[in-house]
Point group: C2
Chain length 444, copies 2
C-alpha cells in the first residue's frame, strides 16, 4: 500500500546485522541505502585466521557492493556516520571532509561495536584489537615479524621476549588466537629458523574473570582450559592487566600480587564497546544505555517512541541477548521484516517481538579440537571441532567465490601450510623502529 | 676437496636469481646464507594480478624461509645489504640500526632492480611502481578506491578523472595492468555501482618508444596494440611523460606538441634501474657499469679479477641478455654450479661460460588473449593465452601450497570473480586525504 515516493530505508553498517537486513529487503518495494566505513563485509569469526596467516583478507571480506550487486534498488555508501537526527529523520555520513545527509523513512542502526581498552586507549599502540581487517593485517605483520626478530637476536633473554605472545581476553577470539599461535609455532614454522626452535614459543592468556569462555558453561570452560594448557598455553584467570608497553605486560592477580610478563607481541581481545552512535540515539529518544554503551530497545528492536528506527546486533540491549554474530543476523533480519510488513499493510504500529533462536556457540582451540554448546548439548574435542567446521564452512560457502577459502582450509587443516605470511616492507621498517626506539605506529 | 671449515656462500637477494642459486646449492657441501630485504620471494610476473584483485599477496610471495626449510645448511637473513667489501670478503647487512657483517668465500649478488623514475623520484608519490608486494597492495587500494570515489562524486567531470587510469610504460607489466583494469571494469565490477557504469572506465597507456612490447618483435607488437585498442585502451607511443601530479599526467608527443590527461590513478611501469650495489661492485673491481647501473661480468657471470664473486639477473650485463625472470633463473643457477664444481675439483679458475637458453617471452592482454614468442615462433590470441597460462601455472604449482592460487585462477578466468578487493581503512583515509588536500602518502 505504498503511496507516492518509494519508502526509503537506510541501514547503518554492513556487518552481520546490516547484511541480514539487506537480504530481507531484497525483494521489498523499498529504496535501500547501506552505509559502512569500509568497502567490505567482514566474516569476523574467522578474522583470527587472517591474523595467523591461514586465510587472505579477501576470503573473509567480500565487498558489500558485490554482495548486493543484484539488488538494483540498494545503494552502497562508503562513509562514516557522524550524526543521526531522529526528528528530521536524516543520517549524515562523512567521507573525509565532505558530508552527505540522507533522509530516511525507516532506519536500521547496525553499527556494531569496537575494541574497548576500558578507558586506556594508549594500550592500542602495543596491543592491537581484533575487530577489523586492519587489525588482523597489523597483527599478522607483528606475529610473523616477531619470529624474524627472534631469528636475528643473539641474546637469549631478548629472543625469549620476541618468542612470547600475550593474549588478553579469554573469550572465543582470545582462545582461538592463543591456540593458533601455538599451532603455527609447533607446526607451520617447522625448520624455518636456524637460531631457535619455534616450538619454544610461549603463549600467555590473561582473563579478568574466573573462567575462559564463560558463555559455554563451566564444564566446557574447564575442558577448554585443560586443552589450552596441554598445548602449552599459560592461562591466568582472575587477572587484571594494569599496563602494557613495548616490552611486556603488567598484571595484578586476584590475590593482590603483581607481576610483569616480558612479551614483545600483545593481542587485545578483552573487551568491546558499542558504537558511539548508541549515545546519540539514546539522547534523542530517551532510550536507556547500558554501561557498554548499548541501547535498550523495545521487543521489536525499535527505539521507544520511534517505531521507524531499529537498533540491532551488538549495539542493541534486549532480553540479555549476547553480542554474537547470530544475534546480529536474527535481529537485523527481524527489523527488516517489520519494515516490509508495515509496507505491505500500512501503519506504523509496533512490530512483532524478536524471538531469538539460539543456534549455539562454538569455538575452535586447535586442529581437531573444538567446543560447541547447542542448547543443552555440549560437545568438545574432535566432534566439537567437526561441528565448528561444518557450521563455518556452510557460512563461508554461502558467499559466492569462497571456493578458494575452502581450498585454503582443506590444505591448511590437513597439512602444515600457512600461505598468507607476507610481511610488507612498511611493516618490517615499523618493526625495526620498535626495536630501535621503542616506537610503534600502525604498520600495515 | 674441501679442507677445514666449510665453504661459505652468501647469496644477496631471494628473487629468481637467488632462489635458483639456492636450489643448485641444496646438496652441495657448503654453508649458505641468503639475505633479502623482505621475508618473501616474489613471483613478479603475476604481481599485476595482486594489484588488480585476482590473487592474494601470499599466493605469489612464499616466505623464503619456508622455501628453503629442507636445506638445514641454508640460513635466511632478513636485512638490507649496505656494503660489500671485495678485499675483506665480507657483506654488511642492516636491520634497522643494527649491522651484521658476514664473511664469504663465494658471493652471488642477485640484488635485482628497482623502479626508476629517471631522476624524477617525486613522481613515485602519484604513480607507484610495480616491483614489490607493497607496490601491488598500494595500487590495489588506489584502483578499487578510485571506483569508490567515482561513486561518491556527483560532478561528471570530476567523476571522469576518478575513472581514468594512466599506465606509463608499454612493456609486459604496463600492457598487462592496462588490460586487467579494463577487464575488471568491464566484467568484475558489473552492477556494483549505482551512479555510473564501470564500463565507462578509460585506460590510457603511454610509452616513449615506437612500439609496445618491443622485445616481442614488430608483428606481435602491432597485433597486441590492435588488441589493446579493441579493448578500448588508448595507446600513445613516442610520448614522453613530463610531469605527474594528483590530478593527471602531462605528456609531450613526438611532434613536440604537449597535452594534459586528467587521471586520478597513475601506474608507473616505465623503467627499472639496477640495485645500487652494482656501483659498489664496479668501483672495487673495475668492472664496467652500463647506463642503468648494471655490472658487466665475465662469461661465467663473475667479476673481473674476482672469480669468487658472481653477479646475476637484472644486475648483470652479459651478451645483451634482457632483464627478465628467465635470465635471472639461468644465471643464478649457473653461478651456483660454478661454485659447486670448484668445490668438487678445487681451484678458483674461471668457470664455464653461461649459455643462455631462450625459452621465449609471453604476456597476457586479457582473458583469452595473449602473445608468446618462442624462438622464431610467434603466437597470438587464444593460443598465445593458453601458452601463457600453461607456463605460469607450471611455475606456480612448482611452489608448494599453490593449490589455492590455481583455484583462484580457474574461478577468475572463467567467471567474473575478483575476490581480493579488500581496501584497508588506512587506505580509505589516505584516499580521502588526496581528495581533500591533494596529499598522498603510501597508504597500504
Amino acid at each position: 500500500m505504498t503511496v507516492g515516493a518509494p519508502h526509503r530505508v537506510v541501514v547503518i553498517g554492513g556487518g552481520f546485522g546490516g547484511l541480514f537486513a539487506l537480504r530481507v529487503l531484497r525483494r521489498a518495494p523499498v529504496e535501500v541505502t547501506v552505509i559502512d566505513r569500509t568497502n567490505h563485509h567482514l566474516f569476523q569469526p574467522l578474522l583470527y585466521q587472517v591474523a595467523t596467516g591461514i586465510l587472505s583478507a579477501g576470503e573473509i571480506a567480500p565487498p558489500i557492493r558485490d554482495v548486493v550487486r543484484h539488488q538494483p534498488r540498494t545503494t552502497v555508501v562508503l562513509g562514516a556516520v557522524t550524526a543521526i537526527d531522529l526528528t528530521a529523520r536524516t543520517v549524515t555520513a562523512h567521507q573525509g571532509d565532505s558530508a552527505h545527509t540522507l533522509p530516511y523513512d525507516s532506519l536500521i542502526v547496525a553499527a556494531g561495536s569496537e575494541t574497548s581498552y576500558f578507558g586506556h586507549d594508549h594500550l592500542s599502540r602495543w596491543a592491537p584489537g581484533m575487530k577489523s581487517i586492519d587489525d588482523a593485517l597489523e597483527l599478522r605483520g607483528r606475529i610473523f615479524g616477531a619470529f624474524e626478530m627472534a631469528e636475528a637476536e643473539s641474546d637469549e633473554r631478548r629472543r625469549g621476549e620476541w618468542l612470547t605472545f600475550a593474549v588478553v581476553g579469554g573469550g572465543p577470539t582470545g582462545v582461538e588466537m592463543a591456540g593458533q599461535i601455538v599451532e603455527l609455532s609447533q607446526r607451520s614454522l617447522q625448520r624455518n629458523f636456524r637460531n631457535f626452535d619455534p616450538r619454544s614459543t610461549r603463549v600467555v592468556l590473561f582473563d579478568g574473570g574466573t573462567s575462559i569462555l564463560p558463555t559455554f558453561g563451566p564444564r566446557l570452560a574447564a575442558k577448554t582450559r585443560r586443552d589450552l594448557e596441554r598445548l602449552g598455553i599459560e592461562v591466568h584467570l582472575d587477572t587484571l592487566v594494569t599496563d602494557i608497553d613495548d616490552r611486556g605486560v603488567d598484571v595484578r592477580f586476584g590475590d593482590g600480587s603483581t607481576r610483569r610478563f616480558a612479551a614483545r607481541t600483545k593481542i587485545w581481545a578483552a573487551g568491546v564497546k558499542a558504537s558511539a552512535l548508541g549515545r546519540t540515539l539514546a539522547e534523542q529518544s530517551g532510550a536507556d544505555l547500558d554501561r557498554n554503551g548499548r541501547v535498550q530497545v523495545l521487543p521489536d528492536c525499535s527505539l521507544p517512541d520511534h517505531p521507524e528506527v531499529f537498533v540491532v546486533g551488538d549495539l542493541m540491549v534486549l532480553d540479555d541477548l549476547p553480542g554474537v554474530a547470530e544475534v546480529a543476523m536474527q535481529s537485523g533480519a527481524h527489523a527488516a521484516r517489520v519494515i516490509v510488513r508495515r509496507q505491505a499493510k500500512g501503519g506504523e504500529g509496533p512490530g512483532q517481538p524478536l524471538r531469538y533462536h539460539d543456534l549455539g556457540s562454538m569455538a575452535t582451540i586447535a586442529r581437531f579440537k573444538g567446543v560447541a554448546k547447542i542448547g543443552r548439548i555440549e560437545i568438545a574435542g574432535f566432534v566439537g571441532w567437526v561441528a565448528w567446521l561444518v557450521v563455518h564452512l556452510t557460512f563461508l560457502t554461502g558467499f559466492k567465490n569462497r571456493v578458494s577459502a575452502l581450498g585454503h582450509w582443506t590444505v591448511s587443516f590437513l597439512g602444515r601450510s600457512r600461505s598468507e605470511r607476507t610481511i610488507t616492507e612498511q611493516q618490517i621498517v615499523a618493526r625495526l623502529a620498535i626495536e630501535a626506539q621503542g616506537d610503534a605506529g600502525r604498520t600495515l
